[in-house]
């Protein structure tokens, strides 16, 4: 089957409409960025402390906030996270609330203190099972030895308890628990757990009503280093692409491709600003992906232009570009449609952690495809027409080089 049978759409005739659309999107994004006084960076770029906590019940964010305030920690951001049934929250502290002389993890300790103020600390001498690592669980089991393994030698014993601890922690981490066991009796559903093990566990551990799932602490230097580096390497990458396209096509093609890609990044960033979404490190990874994707799409169209130009030297350049876009249209729609499908799956099922990432890709795939046709191609057409009504000048030089290449 096929979707398009030799379409004859005058793409270049509509270019002003789409260039206008692009400009308004870009301007809207830039205005939004300006109003927000720059992009909203995540903790990984801004520096600060971020802690993801899962609670047994719906978390009382106001109580945690007032506990933090009571400790003199202000400007904390507390927000529910994921679906309401998961009882998860992110607690964030900006860098400015911690001073330079403090240890880097002061913010984290403040938050942990606030949490134990609100939710209480466990019985003295007991360890919180919900926040224990497999190593800790294994060490405690090895010490209490509920399965009487000591007589079998220390090697056997530590292996047995390591496996047991891993099974316990895996059970704890598997949804629907996702890190939080409410009652030790639940653990009886595991075949490895017998009453002796259970009583050893209850002797050494307690169950808190919250579990820290993720901690992120970024010092000021790392944040600004990362921001600078992400910018520089992306620009360097674009520059390298420009050189390669210059070598393979013409300088103007390289410029057009880079401008189009740049356009995509600006508009995607604009969407982030308009929706007040944070730019995190994973979003940067998504932007790099978008740069690659957009470039790929543009080159496919350019390649067809080059090939057609070689075969038909007298054709009007604008017609030629239209024809090339039409010829590659079904591949463009197919590829971007399929990539969109894959990215959409990531957006819908990929979970909260990569939400910003998949959002950037969903926007990016659409914009990246669009810009090849409506930004990159018109730039080349515009330049070629100015350089001699699209018949002589730059284009003929390109053709000569192509011909020389073919002879070689």
């Amino acid at each position: 089957m096929e979707f398009f049978h030799e379409p004859k759409i005058d793409w270049m005739g509509k270019k002003w409409f789409f260039i206008g659309l692009s400009l308004s999107l870009a301007v809207a994004g830039l205005v939004s960025i300006a109003i927000h006084r720059g992009l909203v960076y995540g903790i990984d770029f801004r520096g600060g402390t971020l802690i993801y906590v899962k609670f047994a019940r719906s978390p009382d964010l106001d109580a945690i906030r007032s506990a933090l305030n009571a400790q003199g920690v202000r400007n904390a951001t507390l927000q529910a996270y994921g679906s309401a049934a998961d009882h998860e929250a992110i607690i964030g502290l900006d860098l400015q609330t911690t001073t330079a002389s403090d240890a880097i993890d002061k913010g984290k300790r403040d938050i942990m203190n606030a949490l134990s103020t609100v939710y209480g600390v466990g019985p003295a001498g007991k360890v919180d099972f919900n926040n224990a690592s497999p190593q800790t669980v294994g060490d405690h089991l090895l010490a209490s030895d509920p399965l009487r393994q000591a007589s079998l030698g220390s090697e056997v014993a530590s292996k047995t308890y390591k496996d047991l601890a891993e099974a316990l922690v895996r059970y704890r981490n598997t949804p629907p628990r996702s890190g939080l066991v409410a009652d030790f009796q639940e653990l009886r559903s595991l075949p490895q757990v017998n009453p002796a093990t259970l009583s050893a566990l209850t002797n050494d551990f307690y169950l808190s009503s919250y579990a820290v799932r993720n901690t992120e602490i970024v010092g000021p230097k790392v944040g600004s280093d990362l921001r600078r580096q992400a910018l520089y390497v992306t620009l360097a990458g674009l520059g390298a692409m420009l050189l390669y396209i210059w070598y393979r096509f013409e300088l103007i093609y390289g410029i057009a491709a880079v401008v189009a890609t740049f356009h995509d990044v600006i508009i995607t960033l604009g969407f982030f600003s308009l929706l007040n979404k944070e730019i995190t490190l994973t979003v940067i990874a998504a932007l790099l992906t978008l740069v690659g994707y957009s470039m790929n799409d543009t080159i496919v169209v350019f390649d067809r232009i080059r090939e057609n130009a070689r075969m038909d030297k007298r054709r009007n350049f604008m017609d030629l570009v239209n024809h090339s876009i039409n010829q590659t249209l079904s591949r463009t729609i197919l590829t971007s449609g399929l990539t969109f499908l894959a990215v959409l799956a990531l957006f819908l099922f990929g979970g909260e952690v990569i939400h910003g990432f998949s959002f950037a890709l969903v926007v990016g795939v659409i914009i990246g495809t669009y810009s090849s046709i409506f930004i990159a191609s018109p730039i080349v057409v515009f330049f070629q027409q100015r350089a001699g009504q699209g018949r002589v000048g730059e284009r003929s030089r390109l053709l000569e080089r192509e011909a020389a290449g073919a002879r070689r």
């Binding site: 922690v169 992120e216 010092g219 079904s330 499908l341």
Partner: protein
């Protein structure tokens, strides 16, 4: 033709076998297979859970120590050579200005500097003929910094190894800011590890001349304001029974240590005769000889045990001690254990500062993986079924190529020992996108050639030939920029670049070569006049 095709098919089979072995190894049973896969597909901390630390080695500390030592030596030499001066002091870590040198001694001081201080330059000070500045050579300072970084890295690695963290990563990070990245899989409370990594643990055992005094002033006062030569003033905590009002204790001790941390051959946590936690140490043969000499000559005197320039205890030497000793202080059992550990692993040449700390709890990592796997399966299934639906028989071809692409990618990550992180998965997604694109390009081109009335064989050949140019251009462009990301990027950006480069190279192979072989195979078995399923 047939033999050529067979040769290519065999080559592809070899690649498939090598890739499968790369993912599963040589398992003896199903359990071992799962174990191998887990070992070879190494997940980053963001997926697996663990602690990620970025720290900066304060290398200037090491330069400062060297400069201090040079200052001491220079001062001593000036005294020996009988060269007078008004003032000599360290200005910063690499500059020591000397003032008021008599004109007739200018040549002597120059000779001294060039003969005995080869790492330093003696430079004139503009506008002051009687002043000179001893400046550390840039190359020498740089060597000290690099050495300090390396040594810190080794020390930290030793300490982490002794803590029993499995598969830690300790590597240089960033561009020349003396930063290290430390990754500790499975560690979800980094507090203790951080403390252990951070303790400088510079140990020195020094003979006490007198003290303790309750304050610095008291110590100086008892010597008339000037310390005896070759001694120094060390702070410490007052020991029970010798209570001082301030809780402080100051010792006047020999500058030269009897033994230092470098002379230790071992250190173990233990208990002293009163049952309090302590650390037992043993000395190397060399250290033992020196220690025996010093303790033998100073029976009845106090021996200061100095850790990081603080006296932790100052027991009285009861008799000659040679190859073993005991460090007491008011330690908890945990502190004694940690102190033994850091002493065994050697001192840090410079202090360290933490710049970043992130801990992914194992449950969040597990969640990310589960979500990621579900999303990838849904995405891949959607793409693959569409390819089958749209291109029929050739869709099978494309799906095989895509599948092989991912297999090679995962195997290569295993062979290179690369780690799969979230940004790495972004690279995989772009690879899949471009892989599908390559097949679409080829198939659309074949359809075009068929529409233009070419025979099936010629259409396939023409389709591949034309699409090849485009595929090379798109791939090389992206590989070039990914190579730049890999070279100049760190951490997450690098993770993206690695999977992308491997994925695209694999894709050039699968979509251009493997797909073509499958097409040729289909064509070779085709009845004359039968249509191609594309």
């Amino acid at each position: 033709m047939e033999t050529k095709l067979r040769g290519r098919a065999i080559f592809i089979l070899v690649v498939i076998v090598v890739s499968i072995l790369g993912v599963i190894g040589f398992p003896k049973n199903f359990r071992a297979l799962k174990e191998n896969v887990r070992e070879r597909i190494r997940l980053g901390l963001d997926l697996k859970g663990g602690t990620h630390l970025v720290l900066q080695v304060q290398v200037e500390d090491a330069v400062n120590i060297t400069a201090d030592q040079a200052l001491e030596r220079f001062r001593d030499e000036l005294k020996i050579k009988n060269i007078r001066y008004d003032d000599i002091q360290k200005a910063d870590s690499t500059h020591i200005p000397i003032k008021g040198i008599p004109d007739e001694k200018a040549a002597d001081i120059q000779t001294l500097a060039s003969d005995q201080f080869s790492d330093w330059d003696l430079v004139r000070v503009p506008g002051d003929t009687r002043a000179r500045t001893l400046a550390m050579k840039v190359s020498a300072a740089q060597a000290i910094r690099n050495q300090a970084l390396l040594q810190a890295m080794n020390t930290i690695r030793n300490r982490i190894d002794q803590l029993g963290v499995t598969e830690p990563t300790i590597a240089e990070y960033g561009q020349g800011d003396y930063e290290l990245v430390v990754q500790l899989p499975g560690v979800d409370d980094p507090t203790r590890v951080k403390d252990i990594m951070q303790s400088t643990a510079m140990l020195a055992l020094k003979i006490v001349q007198d003290g303790p005094y309750s304050s610095k002033e008291a110590a100086l006062g008892s010597h008339g304001g000037v310390l005896p030569p070759d001694t120094e003033l060390l702070p410490g905590k007052a020991e029970s029974g010798r209570e001082s009002a301030s809780g402080e204790a100051w010792y006047v001790a020999n500058k030269v240590a009897a033994v230092t941390g470098r002379d230790l051959s071992g250190a173990e946590p233990s208990h002293d005769i009163n049952g309090r936690p302590c650390v037992n140490f043993t000395l190397t043969r060399d250290g033992a000889a020196r220690f025996g000499r010093v303790t033998g000559a100073n029976i009845g005197r106090q021996l200061a045990i100095v850790l990081d320039n603080r006296v932790v205890s100052a027991p009285v030497v009861q008799g000659q001690i040679t190859d073993r000793g005991e460090i007491t202080g008011s330690f908890t059992p945990q502190q004694a254990q940690d102190l033994a550990l850091v002493l065994r692993s050697g001192a840090l040449p410079a202090s360290i500062k933490y710049l970043q700390e992130s801990t992914v709890g194992p449950s969040l990592g597990a969640d990310s993986i589960r979500h990621g796997v579900i999303a990838s399966i849904v995405g891949l299934a959607a793409v693959m079924s569409f390819m089958l639906f749209y291109y029929r028989g050739s869709g099978v071809n494309a799906n095989l190529a895509l599948f092989l692409n991912l297999l090679i990618l995962i195997a290569a990550l295993g062979y290179f020992g690369a780690v799969l992180t979230l940004p790495g998965i972004a690279g995989v997604i772009l690879t899949v996108g471009m892989g599908v694109d390559s097949n679409v390009l080829i198939f659309e081109r074949i359809r075009e050639e068929l529409r233009n009335g070419k025979a099936v064989g010629a259409a396939v050949a023409g389709g591949f030939e034309h699409a090849f140019v485009t595929i090379i251009d798109t791939h090389v462009t992206t590989i070039v920029s990914a190579a730049i990301l890999f070279t100049f990027g760190t951490g997450p950006i690098r993770g993206f670049a690695v999977t992308l480069v491997i994925g695209l190279v694999a894709n050039l192979f699968t979509s251009v070569f493997v797909s073509r072989v499958i097409f040729d195979y289909v064509l070779s078995r085709r009845q004359a006049g039968e249509a191609l399923s594309v």
